[in-house]
Protein backbone atom coordinates (compact mmCIF):
# COMPACT_ATOMS: atom_id res chain seq x y z
CA UNK A 1 0.00 0.00 0.00
CA UNK A 2 1.50 3.29 -1.11
CA UNK A 3 1.25 6.39 1.06
CA UNK A 4 0.31 9.40 -1.00
CA UNK A 5 1.22 12.93 -0.03
CA UNK A 6 -1.39 15.67 -0.23
CA UNK A 7 -0.15 17.10 -3.49
CA UNK A 8 -0.09 13.60 -4.98
CA UNK A 9 -3.86 13.14 -4.57
CA UNK A 10 -4.78 13.57 -8.27
CA UNK A 11 -2.14 10.97 -9.14
CA UNK A 12 -3.42 8.70 -6.38
CA UNK A 13 -6.94 8.88 -7.82
CA UNK A 14 -5.77 8.01 -11.31
CA UNK A 15 -3.68 5.13 -10.07
CA UNK A 16 -6.66 3.91 -8.04
CA UNK A 17 -8.78 3.85 -11.20
CA UNK A 18 -6.08 2.01 -13.11
CA UNK A 19 -5.94 -0.56 -10.34
CA UNK A 20 -9.73 -1.04 -10.47
CA UNK A 21 -9.66 -1.46 -14.23
CA UNK A 22 -6.93 -4.07 -13.93
CA UNK A 23 -9.15 -6.10 -11.63
CA UNK A 24 -12.02 -5.78 -14.07
CA UNK A 25 -9.81 -6.57 -17.02
CA UNK A 26 -9.33 -9.59 -19.25
CA UNK A 27 -12.88 -10.30 -20.24
CA UNK A 28 -11.97 -9.82 -23.85
CA UNK A 29 -12.85 -6.14 -23.96
CA UNK A 30 -10.04 -4.39 -25.77
CA UNK A 31 -10.98 -0.91 -24.72
CA UNK A 32 -10.10 -1.61 -21.06
CA UNK A 33 -6.41 -2.03 -21.90
CA UNK A 34 -6.62 1.14 -23.97
CA UNK A 35 -8.25 2.95 -21.09
CA UNK A 36 -5.56 1.75 -18.69
CA UNK A 37 -2.83 2.94 -21.05
CA UNK A 38 -4.54 6.30 -21.42
CA UNK A 39 -4.88 6.78 -17.67
CA UNK A 40 -1.33 5.63 -17.08
CA UNK A 41 0.01 8.23 -19.51
CA UNK A 42 -2.05 10.85 -17.75
CA UNK A 43 -0.83 9.73 -14.32
CA UNK A 44 2.79 9.74 -15.48
CA UNK A 45 2.35 13.21 -16.87
CA UNK A 46 0.83 14.49 -13.61
CA UNK A 47 3.62 12.88 -11.61
CA UNK A 48 6.25 14.44 -13.82
CA UNK A 49 4.56 17.81 -13.59
CA UNK A 50 4.27 17.65 -9.81
CA UNK A 51 7.83 16.50 -9.22
CA UNK A 52 9.48 18.84 -11.69
CA UNK A 53 8.37 21.85 -9.67
CA UNK A 54 8.06 20.72 -6.07
CA UNK A 55 7.85 23.65 -3.68
CA UNK A 56 10.28 23.65 -0.74
CA UNK A 57 7.43 22.66 1.58
CA UNK A 58 6.47 19.77 -0.73
CA UNK A 59 10.09 18.66 -0.69
CA UNK A 60 9.95 18.62 3.10
CA UNK A 61 6.99 16.22 2.80
CA UNK A 62 8.84 14.01 0.30
CA UNK A 63 11.99 14.04 2.44
CA UNK A 64 9.91 12.81 5.39
CA UNK A 65 7.94 10.25 3.37
CA UNK A 66 7.55 7.12 5.52
CA UNK A 67 8.35 4.88 2.55
CA UNK A 68 11.48 6.74 1.55
CA UNK A 69 14.50 4.39 1.71
CA UNK A 70 16.31 4.59 5.04
CA UNK A 71 19.78 3.79 6.29
CA UNK A 72 18.92 0.10 6.61
CA UNK A 73 17.72 -0.04 2.99
CA UNK A 74 20.89 1.53 1.62
CA UNK A 75 23.09 -0.77 3.69
CA UNK A 76 21.12 -3.82 2.57
CA UNK A 77 21.36 -2.73 -1.05
CA UNK A 78 24.95 -1.55 -1.20
CA UNK A 79 27.03 -3.13 1.55
CA UNK A 80 27.99 -6.78 1.72
CA UNK A 81 29.34 -8.65 4.76
CA UNK A 82 27.83 -5.92 6.90
CA UNK A 83 28.64 -6.18 10.60
CA UNK A 84 26.57 -3.78 12.71
CA UNK A 85 28.39 -2.31 15.68
CA UNK A 86 26.74 -1.12 18.86
CA UNK A 87 27.29 1.08 21.86
CA UNK A 88 29.33 4.06 22.92
CA UNK A 89 31.23 2.03 25.58
CA UNK A 90 30.14 4.57 28.16
CA UNK A 91 26.41 4.53 28.61
CA UNK A 92 24.18 2.89 26.02
CA UNK A 93 23.52 1.89 22.44
CA UNK A 94 21.52 4.61 20.75
CA UNK A 95 19.45 3.04 18.01
CA UNK A 96 18.78 6.38 16.33
CA UNK A 97 22.31 6.15 14.94
CA UNK A 98 23.40 2.93 13.30
CA UNK A 99 26.82 1.98 12.10
CA UNK A 100 29.03 -0.86 11.10
CA UNK A 101 31.74 -2.24 8.87
CA UNK A 102 31.15 -3.92 5.57
CA UNK A 103 32.23 -4.03 1.96
CA UNK A 104 31.19 -1.42 -0.52
CA UNK A 105 32.21 -2.29 -4.09
CA UNK A 106 34.86 -4.59 -2.67
CA UNK A 107 36.50 -2.22 -0.22
CA UNK A 108 35.97 -2.21 3.54
CA UNK A 109 34.11 0.86 4.72
CA UNK A 110 32.68 2.26 7.92
CA UNK A 111 29.09 3.24 7.34
CA UNK A 112 27.27 5.37 9.90
CA UNK A 113 23.88 7.03 9.76
CA UNK A 114 20.62 7.99 11.31
CA UNK A 115 17.84 5.41 11.16
CA UNK A 116 14.28 6.64 11.49
CA UNK A 117 12.69 3.18 11.40
CA UNK A 118 10.43 1.71 8.74
CA UNK A 119 7.16 1.12 10.60
CA UNK A 120 5.49 2.37 13.76
CA UNK A 121 7.33 -0.10 15.97
CA UNK A 122 10.62 0.65 14.21
CA UNK A 123 10.14 4.38 14.53
CA UNK A 124 9.69 4.07 18.27
CA UNK A 125 12.69 1.76 18.56
CA UNK A 126 14.88 4.18 16.61
CA UNK A 127 13.37 7.24 18.30
CA UNK A 128 12.39 8.65 14.89
CA UNK A 129 16.06 9.11 14.08
CA UNK A 130 16.58 11.63 16.89
CA UNK A 131 19.85 10.75 18.57
CA UNK A 132 20.98 11.27 22.12
CA UNK A 133 24.59 11.94 23.16
CA UNK A 134 25.41 8.22 23.18
CA UNK A 135 24.47 8.08 19.50
CA UNK A 136 27.05 10.69 18.56
CA UNK A 137 29.56 9.08 20.89
CA UNK A 138 29.02 5.75 19.17
CA UNK A 139 29.57 7.48 15.83
CA UNK A 140 32.82 8.92 17.17
CA UNK A 141 33.97 5.53 18.38
CA UNK A 142 33.34 4.06 14.95
CA UNK A 143 35.14 6.97 13.27
CA UNK A 144 38.15 6.30 15.50
CA UNK A 145 38.08 2.67 14.43
CA UNK A 146 37.86 3.69 10.78
CA UNK A 147 40.87 5.93 11.28
CA UNK A 148 42.83 3.14 12.93
CA UNK A 149 42.19 0.66 10.12
CA UNK A 150 42.18 3.24 7.33
CA UNK A 151 38.59 2.59 6.27
CA UNK A 152 36.79 5.37 4.43
CA UNK A 153 33.71 6.65 6.26
CA UNK A 154 30.32 7.01 4.62
CA UNK A 155 27.57 8.72 6.61
CA UNK A 156 23.89 8.83 5.71
CA UNK A 157 22.06 11.74 7.27
CA UNK A 158 18.35 11.44 8.01
CA UNK A 159 17.16 13.07 11.20
CA UNK A 160 14.61 15.64 12.34
CA UNK A 161 17.34 16.77 14.77
CA UNK A 162 19.07 15.76 17.98
CA UNK A 163 16.63 14.60 20.65
CA UNK A 164 15.54 17.40 23.00
CA UNK A 165 15.22 15.56 26.31
CA UNK A 166 16.25 15.91 29.92
CA UNK A 167 18.58 12.91 29.87
CA UNK A 168 20.14 14.06 26.61
CA UNK A 169 20.95 17.44 28.13
CA UNK A 170 22.28 15.83 31.32
CA UNK A 171 24.63 13.63 29.39
CA UNK A 172 25.91 16.51 27.29
CA UNK A 173 24.03 16.64 24.00
CA UNK A 174 25.87 19.81 22.99
CA UNK A 175 29.28 18.42 23.88
CA UNK A 176 28.62 15.18 22.02
CA UNK A 177 27.61 17.03 18.85
CA UNK A 178 30.58 19.40 19.09
CA UNK A 179 33.02 16.51 19.52
CA UNK A 180 31.44 14.60 16.68
CA UNK A 181 31.91 17.55 14.32
CA UNK A 182 35.50 17.82 15.53
CA UNK A 183 35.97 14.10 14.94
CA UNK A 184 34.70 14.30 11.35
CA UNK A 185 37.00 17.25 10.65
CA UNK A 186 40.02 15.46 12.10
CA UNK A 187 39.66 12.13 10.28
CA UNK A 188 42.73 10.91 8.41
CA UNK A 189 40.54 8.86 6.06
CA UNK A 190 38.06 10.14 3.48
CA UNK A 191 34.54 10.88 4.69
CA UNK A 192 31.56 11.25 2.37
CA UNK A 193 28.16 12.29 3.71
CA UNK A 194 24.83 11.98 1.97
CA UNK A 195 21.68 13.70 3.17
CA UNK A 196 19.15 11.01 2.23
CA UNK A 197 16.05 12.53 3.80
CA UNK A 198 15.96 15.19 6.48
CA UNK A 199 19.14 17.00 7.48
CA UNK A 200 17.97 18.39 10.79
CA UNK A 201 20.29 21.01 12.24
CA UNK A 202 23.00 20.11 14.78
CA UNK A 203 21.95 16.48 14.77
CA UNK A 204 22.79 16.37 11.06
CA UNK A 205 26.02 18.36 10.90
CA UNK A 206 27.38 16.16 13.72
CA UNK A 207 27.82 13.47 11.05
CA UNK A 208 28.29 15.69 8.01
CA UNK A 209 31.46 17.77 8.39
CA UNK A 210 32.73 15.77 5.45
CA UNK A 211 35.11 15.96 2.48
CA UNK A 212 32.11 15.69 0.21
CA UNK A 213 28.52 16.39 1.15
CA UNK A 214 25.91 15.00 -1.23
CA UNK A 215 22.17 15.48 -1.17
CA UNK A 216 19.42 13.50 -2.77
CA UNK A 217 17.33 15.66 -5.09
CA UNK A 218 14.28 15.91 -2.83
CA UNK A 219 16.01 15.79 0.54
CA UNK A 220 16.19 18.89 2.73
CA UNK A 221 18.88 20.27 5.02
CA UNK A 222 18.29 23.11 7.42
CA UNK A 223 19.39 24.87 10.58
CA UNK A 224 15.88 24.54 11.98
CA UNK A 225 12.70 22.77 10.90
CA UNK A 226 10.30 24.99 8.94
CA UNK A 227 7.76 24.47 11.72
CA UNK A 228 10.24 25.55 14.40
CA UNK A 229 11.37 28.55 12.37
CA UNK A 230 7.77 29.59 11.71
CA UNK A 231 6.79 29.38 15.35
CA UNK A 232 9.71 31.58 16.35
CA UNK A 233 9.85 34.15 13.54
CA UNK A 234 6.21 34.14 12.41
CA UNK A 235 4.88 33.18 15.84
CA UNK A 236 2.78 30.44 14.28
CA UNK A 237 3.68 26.98 13.04
CA UNK A 238 1.09 27.47 10.32
CA UNK A 239 3.59 29.56 8.43
CA UNK A 240 5.85 26.53 7.98
CA UNK A 241 5.35 26.69 4.23
CA UNK A 242 6.61 30.27 4.09
CA UNK A 243 9.50 29.43 6.42
CA UNK A 244 10.46 26.47 4.22
CA UNK A 245 10.83 28.86 1.31
CA UNK A 246 12.76 31.46 3.27
CA UNK A 247 15.21 28.94 4.72
CA UNK A 248 16.50 27.74 1.31
CA UNK A 249 16.61 24.16 2.45
CA UNK A 250 16.39 22.37 -0.91
CA UNK A 251 19.26 20.49 -2.51
CA UNK A 252 19.35 22.88 -5.46
CA UNK A 253 19.60 25.96 -3.22
CA UNK A 254 22.22 24.39 -0.98
CA UNK A 255 24.31 23.47 -4.00
CA UNK A 256 24.08 27.10 -5.13
CA UNK A 257 25.18 28.24 -1.68
CA UNK A 258 28.19 25.94 -1.88
CA UNK A 259 27.19 23.90 1.16
CA UNK A 260 26.49 20.79 -0.88
CA UNK A 261 28.99 19.42 -3.39
CA UNK A 262 26.68 17.32 -5.51
CA UNK A 263 22.99 16.61 -5.91
CA UNK A 264 22.00 13.03 -6.67
CA UNK A 265 18.93 12.77 -8.89
CA UNK A 266 15.91 10.80 -7.67
CA UNK A 267 13.66 8.46 -9.63
CA UNK A 268 10.55 10.11 -11.10
CA UNK A 269 8.09 10.58 -8.28
CA UNK A 270 10.74 10.45 -5.55
CA UNK A 271 13.01 7.85 -3.97
CA UNK A 272 10.03 6.11 -2.36
CA UNK A 273 8.53 5.18 -5.75
CA UNK A 274 11.51 3.20 -7.01
CA UNK A 275 13.78 2.56 -4.01
CA UNK A 276 16.06 0.18 -5.89
CA UNK A 277 16.87 2.83 -8.48
CA UNK A 278 17.60 5.37 -5.74
CA UNK A 279 19.83 3.00 -3.81
CA UNK A 280 21.88 2.21 -6.92
CA UNK A 281 22.20 5.90 -7.81
CA UNK A 282 23.43 6.72 -4.31
CA UNK A 283 25.92 3.87 -4.52
CA UNK A 284 27.30 5.16 -7.81
CA UNK A 285 27.56 8.72 -6.48
CA UNK A 286 29.39 7.66 -3.31
CA UNK A 287 31.72 5.44 -5.33
CA UNK A 288 32.68 8.36 -7.56
CA UNK A 289 33.55 10.54 -4.57
CA UNK A 290 35.47 7.84 -2.72
CA UNK A 291 37.48 7.04 -5.83
CA UNK A 292 38.63 10.67 -6.13
CA UNK A 293 39.29 11.12 -2.43
CA UNK A 294 41.28 7.92 -2.07
CA UNK A 295 43.97 9.43 -4.29
CA UNK A 296 44.73 12.19 -1.79
CA UNK A 297 47.37 11.87 0.92
CA UNK A 298 46.33 12.38 4.53
CA UNK A 299 47.70 15.90 4.89
CA UNK A 300 46.02 17.14 1.71
CA UNK A 301 42.76 15.45 2.60
CA UNK A 302 42.55 17.10 6.03
CA UNK A 303 43.72 20.48 4.77
CA UNK A 304 41.20 20.51 1.94
CA UNK A 305 38.39 19.48 4.27
CA UNK A 306 39.15 22.34 6.66
CA UNK A 307 39.67 24.86 3.90
CA UNK A 308 36.39 23.88 2.35
CA UNK A 309 34.50 24.69 5.54
CA UNK A 310 36.48 27.84 6.22
CA UNK A 311 35.72 29.15 2.72
CA UNK A 312 32.07 28.16 2.93
CA UNK A 313 29.66 31.08 2.79
CA UNK A 314 32.29 33.66 1.86
CA UNK A 315 30.94 33.97 -1.67
CA UNK A 316 27.54 32.48 -1.05
CA UNK A 317 24.68 33.91 -3.01
CA UNK A 318 21.27 32.66 -4.02
Amino acid sequence: MRNFLNFEQPIAELEGKIEELRHLGDDGEVNIADEIARLQTKADKLLRQAYSKLTPWQKVQVARHPQRPHFADYVAGLVTDYVPLAGDRAYADDKAIQGGIGRFNGRSVMVIGHEKGGDTQGRVKHNFGMARPEGYRKAMRLMDMADRFRLPVVTLVDTPGAYPGVGAEERGQAEAIARSIEKCLGLTVPIVSVVIGEGGSGGAIALAAADRVLMLEHSVYSVISPEGCASILWRSAENAQTAAEALRLTAADLAKLGVVDRVVGEPMGGAHRVPKEMIDALGAAVERELATLSELDVATLRRQRREKFLAMGRDAQI
Binding site: L233, L257, V259, G313
Partner: protein
Protein backbone atom coordinates in the same frame (compact mmCIF):
# COMPACT_ATOMS: atom_id res chain seq x y z
CA UNK B 1 9.57 45.08 46.80
CA UNK B 2 7.38 46.78 44.25
CA UNK B 3 6.58 49.58 46.63
CA UNK B 4 10.11 50.81 45.96
CA UNK B 5 9.49 51.01 42.26
CA UNK B 6 6.11 52.61 42.73
CA UNK B 7 6.86 54.90 45.60
CA UNK B 8 10.52 55.75 45.85
CA UNK B 9 11.09 56.23 42.17
CA UNK B 10 8.34 58.78 41.64
CA UNK B 11 9.59 60.58 44.72
CA UNK B 12 13.09 60.76 43.35
CA UNK B 13 11.65 61.96 40.11
CA UNK B 14 9.93 64.73 42.00
CA UNK B 15 13.07 65.63 43.93
CA UNK B 16 15.41 65.65 41.00
CA UNK B 17 12.90 67.07 38.65
CA UNK B 18 14.36 65.21 35.70
CA UNK B 19 11.95 62.54 34.55
CA UNK B 20 14.55 60.64 32.53
CA UNK B 21 17.18 60.20 35.16
CA UNK B 22 15.48 57.94 37.72
CA UNK B 23 15.17 55.07 35.24
CA UNK B 24 18.91 55.10 35.00
CA UNK B 25 19.41 55.53 38.70
CA UNK B 26 17.72 52.38 39.79
CA UNK B 27 18.19 48.84 38.64
CA UNK B 28 15.98 45.98 39.68
CA UNK B 29 17.72 42.66 40.37
CA UNK B 30 16.39 40.04 37.98
CA UNK B 31 17.08 37.44 40.69
CA UNK B 32 15.54 38.77 43.90
CA UNK B 33 13.73 41.84 42.62
CA UNK B 34 15.52 44.24 44.97
CA UNK B 35 16.13 47.74 43.74
CA UNK B 36 19.70 48.96 43.67
CA UNK B 37 21.43 52.17 42.80
CA UNK B 38 22.76 52.00 39.29
CA UNK B 39 26.13 53.19 40.55
CA UNK B 40 26.36 50.30 43.05
CA UNK B 41 25.37 47.80 40.40
CA UNK B 42 28.08 49.14 38.16
CA UNK B 43 30.73 49.00 40.86
CA UNK B 44 29.72 45.46 41.69
CA UNK B 45 30.03 44.39 38.03
CA UNK B 46 26.27 43.87 37.75
CA UNK B 47 26.16 41.30 40.53
CA UNK B 48 23.36 41.81 43.04
CA UNK B 49 24.64 42.84 46.49
CA UNK B 50 21.60 41.22 48.08
CA UNK B 51 21.38 37.79 46.52
CA UNK B 52 24.58 37.43 44.46
CA UNK B 53 22.61 37.04 41.24
CA UNK B 54 24.76 37.63 38.16
CA UNK B 55 22.92 40.04 35.92
CA UNK B 56 23.74 40.73 32.29
CA UNK B 57 27.13 42.43 32.09
CA UNK B 58 27.56 44.66 29.04
CA UNK B 59 30.34 43.31 26.90
CA UNK B 60 32.53 46.42 27.12
CA UNK B 61 32.44 46.23 30.88
CA UNK B 62 33.24 42.55 30.78
CA UNK B 63 36.31 43.14 28.65
CA UNK B 64 37.38 45.99 30.93
CA UNK B 65 36.93 43.71 33.92
CA UNK B 66 39.15 40.99 32.46
CA UNK B 67 42.06 42.82 30.82
CA UNK B 68 44.89 44.44 32.84
CA UNK B 69 43.91 47.99 33.82
CA UNK B 70 40.77 47.53 31.73
CA UNK B 71 42.87 48.22 28.61
CA UNK B 72 42.33 46.39 25.36
CA UNK B 73 42.10 46.89 21.63
CA UNK B 74 39.49 45.47 19.32
CA UNK B 75 40.06 44.33 15.78
CA UNK B 76 37.82 45.13 12.85
CA UNK B 77 35.59 42.22 11.94
CA UNK B 78 36.12 40.71 8.50
CA UNK B 79 33.54 41.85 5.97
CA UNK B 80 30.91 39.28 5.06
CA UNK B 81 28.21 39.00 2.43
CA UNK B 82 25.14 40.64 3.93
CA UNK B 83 21.93 38.62 3.88
CA UNK B 84 23.06 35.83 1.53
CA UNK B 85 19.61 34.20 1.59
CA UNK B 86 17.62 37.42 1.05
CA UNK B 87 15.63 36.38 4.08
CA UNK B 88 12.52 38.06 5.28
CA UNK B 89 9.85 37.15 7.79
CA UNK B 90 7.76 40.06 9.10
CA UNK B 91 10.80 42.16 8.52
CA UNK B 92 13.69 42.00 6.15
CA UNK B 93 16.79 40.50 7.70
CA UNK B 94 18.77 43.49 6.40
CA UNK B 95 16.46 45.78 8.42
CA UNK B 96 16.88 43.67 11.54
CA UNK B 97 20.63 43.89 11.06
CA UNK B 98 20.55 47.66 10.68
CA UNK B 99 18.41 47.99 13.81
CA UNK B 100 20.78 45.83 15.82
CA UNK B 101 23.74 47.78 14.49
CA UNK B 102 22.30 51.13 15.47
CA UNK B 103 21.15 49.79 18.85
CA UNK B 104 24.53 48.33 19.78
CA UNK B 105 26.93 50.34 17.67
CA UNK B 106 28.48 47.09 16.50
CA UNK B 107 28.83 45.41 13.14
CA UNK B 108 27.58 42.09 14.49
CA UNK B 109 27.22 40.00 17.63
CA UNK B 110 30.92 39.43 18.35
CA UNK B 111 33.82 41.53 19.56
CA UNK B 112 37.39 40.38 19.12
CA UNK B 113 39.70 42.05 21.61
CA UNK B 114 43.31 41.65 22.57
CA UNK B 115 45.39 42.98 25.40
CA UNK B 116 47.19 41.67 28.44
CA UNK B 117 45.96 39.61 31.33
CA UNK B 118 48.37 39.24 34.23
CA UNK B 119 50.95 40.74 31.91
CA UNK B 120 50.53 38.10 29.19
CA UNK B 121 49.06 38.66 25.77
CA UNK B 122 45.51 37.33 25.55
CA UNK B 123 42.84 37.30 22.85
CA UNK B 124 39.18 37.35 23.78
CA UNK B 125 36.23 36.74 21.47
CA UNK B 126 33.11 37.91 23.29
CA UNK B 127 29.48 37.77 22.19
CA UNK B 128 27.10 40.68 22.54
CA UNK B 129 23.73 39.18 23.44
CA UNK B 130 22.08 42.52 22.70
CA UNK B 131 22.88 42.07 19.02
CA UNK B 132 20.08 39.78 17.79
CA UNK B 133 20.37 37.54 20.83
CA UNK B 134 24.03 36.90 20.18
CA UNK B 135 23.02 34.64 17.31
CA UNK B 136 25.78 33.09 15.21
CA UNK B 137 25.90 33.71 11.49
CA UNK B 138 28.72 34.27 9.02
CA UNK B 139 30.00 37.43 10.73
CA UNK B 140 30.27 35.78 14.13
CA UNK B 141 31.95 32.75 12.57
CA UNK B 142 34.43 34.98 10.76
CA UNK B 143 35.04 36.81 14.04
CA UNK B 144 35.96 33.56 15.76
CA UNK B 145 38.20 32.55 12.85
CA UNK B 146 39.91 35.94 13.05
CA UNK B 147 40.28 35.65 16.83
CA UNK B 148 41.85 32.21 16.47
CA UNK B 149 44.30 33.44 13.83
CA UNK B 150 45.19 36.45 16.00
CA UNK B 151 45.83 34.18 18.97
CA UNK B 152 48.10 31.95 16.89
CA UNK B 153 49.92 34.98 15.47
CA UNK B 154 50.46 36.47 18.93
CA UNK B 155 51.14 33.04 20.46
CA UNK B 156 48.45 33.98 22.96
CA UNK B 157 45.67 31.96 24.57
CA UNK B 158 42.15 32.41 23.24
CA UNK B 159 39.22 32.97 25.56
CA UNK B 160 35.77 32.66 24.01
CA UNK B 161 32.86 34.21 25.90
CA UNK B 162 29.58 33.05 24.36
CA UNK B 163 26.22 34.63 25.20
CA UNK B 164 23.95 33.39 22.48
CA UNK B 165 20.58 31.95 21.64
CA UNK B 166 22.29 29.79 19.01
CA UNK B 167 22.27 29.89 15.24
CA UNK B 168 21.06 32.92 13.30
CA UNK B 169 18.02 31.48 11.53
CA UNK B 170 17.96 34.29 8.99
CA UNK B 171 21.17 32.92 7.51
CA UNK B 172 19.69 29.45 7.18
CA UNK B 173 22.12 26.64 6.46
CA UNK B 174 25.06 29.07 6.50
CA UNK B 175 24.44 29.65 10.20
CA UNK B 176 24.55 25.88 10.76
CA UNK B 177 27.86 25.81 8.89
CA UNK B 178 29.37 28.05 11.57
CA UNK B 179 29.49 24.96 13.77
CA UNK B 180 32.20 23.23 11.69
CA UNK B 181 33.79 26.59 10.81
CA UNK B 182 34.29 27.65 14.42
CA UNK B 183 35.45 24.14 15.24
CA UNK B 184 38.20 24.47 12.63
CA UNK B 185 39.08 27.85 14.15
CA UNK B 186 39.61 26.56 17.69
CA UNK B 187 41.45 23.50 16.39
CA UNK B 188 44.02 25.89 14.93
CA UNK B 189 44.56 27.39 18.38
CA UNK B 190 44.85 23.99 20.02
CA UNK B 191 47.24 22.69 17.39
CA UNK B 192 49.47 25.69 18.01
CA UNK B 193 49.75 24.43 21.59
CA UNK B 194 47.82 27.39 22.97
CA UNK B 195 45.07 27.22 25.58
CA UNK B 196 41.50 27.62 24.39
CA UNK B 197 39.28 28.55 27.29
CA UNK B 198 35.53 28.99 27.21
CA UNK B 199 33.81 31.27 29.67
CA UNK B 200 30.13 30.38 29.49
CA UNK B 201 27.78 33.24 30.29
CA UNK B 202 24.02 33.56 30.40
CA UNK B 203 22.59 32.29 28.11
CA UNK B 204 24.55 29.88 25.90
CA UNK B 205 22.39 27.52 23.85
CA UNK B 206 21.86 25.74 20.56
CA UNK B 207 24.47 25.61 17.86
CA UNK B 208 26.89 27.76 19.83
CA UNK B 209 26.95 25.33 22.74
CA UNK B 210 27.11 22.40 20.31
CA UNK B 211 30.30 23.64 18.67
CA UNK B 212 33.29 25.70 19.85
CA UNK B 213 31.73 26.44 23.25
CA UNK B 214 32.00 22.80 24.32
CA UNK B 215 35.49 22.31 22.88
CA UNK B 216 37.54 24.28 25.37
CA UNK B 217 40.54 22.96 27.24
CA UNK B 218 38.72 24.42 30.19
CA UNK B 219 35.08 25.35 30.63
CA UNK B 220 34.34 28.03 33.19
CA UNK B 221 30.77 29.18 33.82
CA UNK B 222 29.33 32.15 35.64
CA UNK B 223 26.95 31.26 38.48
CA UNK B 224 23.35 30.68 37.48
CA UNK B 225 23.93 30.97 33.74
CA UNK B 226 21.57 29.08 31.43
CA UNK B 227 23.60 26.68 29.32
CA UNK B 228 22.22 23.91 27.16
CA UNK B 229 21.54 22.54 23.71
CA UNK B 230 17.77 22.42 23.29
CA UNK B 231 15.54 25.19 24.57
CA UNK B 232 13.46 24.64 27.70
CA UNK B 233 10.17 25.00 25.88
CA UNK B 234 11.09 22.51 23.18
CA UNK B 235 12.12 19.99 25.81
CA UNK B 236 8.94 20.51 27.82
CA UNK B 237 6.84 19.99 24.71
CA UNK B 238 8.74 16.82 23.87
CA UNK B 239 8.93 15.09 27.23
CA UNK B 240 5.69 16.49 28.66
CA UNK B 241 6.96 16.58 32.18
CA UNK B 242 8.27 19.24 34.52
CA UNK B 243 11.96 19.85 34.20
CA UNK B 244 14.27 19.20 37.15
CA UNK B 245 15.17 21.99 39.55
CA UNK B 246 18.01 24.13 38.27
CA UNK B 247 17.91 22.38 34.87
CA UNK B 248 20.51 23.73 32.40
CA UNK B 249 22.17 26.05 34.91
CA UNK B 250 25.93 26.33 35.34
CA UNK B 251 25.71 24.40 38.59
CA UNK B 252 23.69 21.65 36.89
CA UNK B 253 26.33 21.40 34.17
CA UNK B 254 29.06 21.24 36.81
CA UNK B 255 27.20 18.36 38.49
CA UNK B 256 26.94 16.55 35.18
CA UNK B 257 30.56 16.98 34.20
CA UNK B 258 30.21 19.53 31.43
CA UNK B 259 32.10 22.42 33.01
CA UNK B 260 35.24 22.52 35.15
CA UNK B 261 34.46 25.47 37.35
CA UNK B 262 31.65 27.79 38.29
CA UNK B 263 33.34 31.07 39.14
CA UNK B 264 31.89 34.27 40.57
CA UNK B 265 32.35 37.32 38.41
CA UNK B 266 34.58 38.95 40.99
CA UNK B 267 36.99 35.99 40.81
CA UNK B 268 36.95 35.49 37.05
CA UNK B 269 39.96 37.55 36.11
CA UNK B 270 42.18 36.02 38.76
CA UNK B 271 41.03 32.48 37.91
CA UNK B 272 41.63 32.93 34.20
CA UNK B 273 45.07 34.41 34.78
CA UNK B 274 46.01 31.53 37.09
CA UNK B 275 44.90 28.71 34.80
CA UNK B 276 46.49 30.30 31.74
CA UNK B 277 49.72 30.81 33.66
CA UNK B 278 49.71 27.19 34.83
CA UNK B 279 49.13 25.94 31.30
CA UNK B 280 51.59 28.21 29.52
CA UNK B 281 54.39 28.58 32.08
CA UNK B 282 54.96 25.02 33.23
CA UNK B 283 58.24 26.07 34.95
CA UNK B 284 60.87 23.63 36.19
CA UNK B 285 60.82 21.56 39.34
CA UNK B 286 62.16 23.53 42.28
CA UNK B 287 65.16 21.82 43.85
CA UNK B 288 65.28 21.46 47.62
CA UNK B 289 68.13 23.40 49.29
CA UNK B 290 70.07 20.23 50.12
CA UNK B 291 70.38 17.89 47.16
CA UNK B 292 69.15 14.39 47.89
CA UNK B 293 72.08 12.10 48.62
CA UNK B 294 71.69 9.37 46.07
CA UNK B 295 74.20 7.30 47.96
CA UNK B 296 71.85 7.13 50.91
CA UNK B 297 71.47 3.37 51.30
CA UNK B 298 67.81 3.54 52.08
CA UNK B 299 67.15 5.07 48.70
CA UNK B 300 69.79 3.32 46.64
CA UNK B 301 68.79 0.59 44.27
CA UNK B 302 70.79 -2.55 44.99
CA UNK B 303 73.24 -3.54 42.25
CA UNK B 304 72.96 -7.02 40.78
CA UNK B 305 76.04 -7.99 42.83
CA UNK B 306 74.46 -6.83 46.05
CA UNK B 307 71.37 -8.79 45.12
CA UNK B 308 73.40 -11.94 44.67
CA UNK B 309 75.17 -11.34 48.01
CA UNK B 310 71.84 -11.01 49.72
CA UNK B 311 70.91 -14.45 48.47
Amino acid sequence: MNWIANFVRPRIKALVGQPDVPDNLWTKCSGCGQMMFHRDVDENHHVCQHCGHHMHLPVDKRLALLFDDGAYETIELPKVKVDPLKFRDHKRYTDRLKEAQSKTGRQDAIIVAHGRMGGSRTVIAAFDFKFMGGSMGMAVGEGLVAAARLAVMQQAPLIAIPASGGARMQEGILSLMQMPRTTVAVEEVKEAGLPFIVLLTDPTTGGVTASFAMLGDLHIAEPGAMIGFAGRRVIEQTVRETLPEGFQTSEYLLDHGMVDLVVKRSDLRETLIRVIDLLTHPGVPEMPDEPVDTKDESLAIPTPEENREAE
